[in-house]
Symmetry: C2
Subunit: 92 residues, 2 copies
Amino acid sequence: MLVRSIGEAAAQVRGCRLALRLSQDQLAQRAGVSRKWVYEFEAGRPHAELGHLLRVLDALDLQLDVSPRIGPADSAPGVVNLDAILERHRDG
Amino acid sequence: MLVRSIGEAAAQVRGCRLALRLSQDQLAQRAGVSRKWVYEFEAGRPHAELGHLLRVLDALDLQLDVSPRIGPADSAPGVVNLDAILERHRDG
DNA sequence: GCACAATGGAACCGATCGGTAGCAATGGTG
DNA sequence: CACCATTGCTACCGATCGGTTCCATTGTGC
């Protein structure tokens, strides 16, 4: 799922946590972070440590992908096509 | 591209920045962060703010995806298949 | 050699992130 | 009703993140 903002990542984490029937505390222990971090991240805290997010995603069996943002719905996650990016920047 | 660690995201950012022929300073200004942040992130600083990373990725025309980590090479980024995740957690 | 841009790095410092502990509200169960 | 788990939220506080400002080094071009 595309993540444009922290709020979207937060919703993803919360949804997956609930789907796994994990409490905030359980997820926090799995990921090695505090319950406060989970709670505040799900609440949309704008500043969150990337390392913690990676651990939480790992605890939820989720992974992070970086992919080129080519168009509204034309991306192919998993492959970074530098040519396409360069193409879009050729004018700048 | 799959991002398992901050180092991999850093390599992705650096590679894309160089492909776009942007200096650290130019990228920092585009993204609204300091050159220090760019330099330290590319150097692999383990703690980095997610919000800053999102801005930098945006400046590089990259996007972030959250996808289920099903197997070594069986993932389908873009869709979060809760059923598959639940399947893998059913024993726990 | 000289000038310039880019980069790695250090020092300083205010802002704030994250952990711990605690409390109130809620919902479920016996 | 009591009891328990979960969640939202707060106060406190040490650690550190990030911005700013410097400097040294490297590479490029005149």
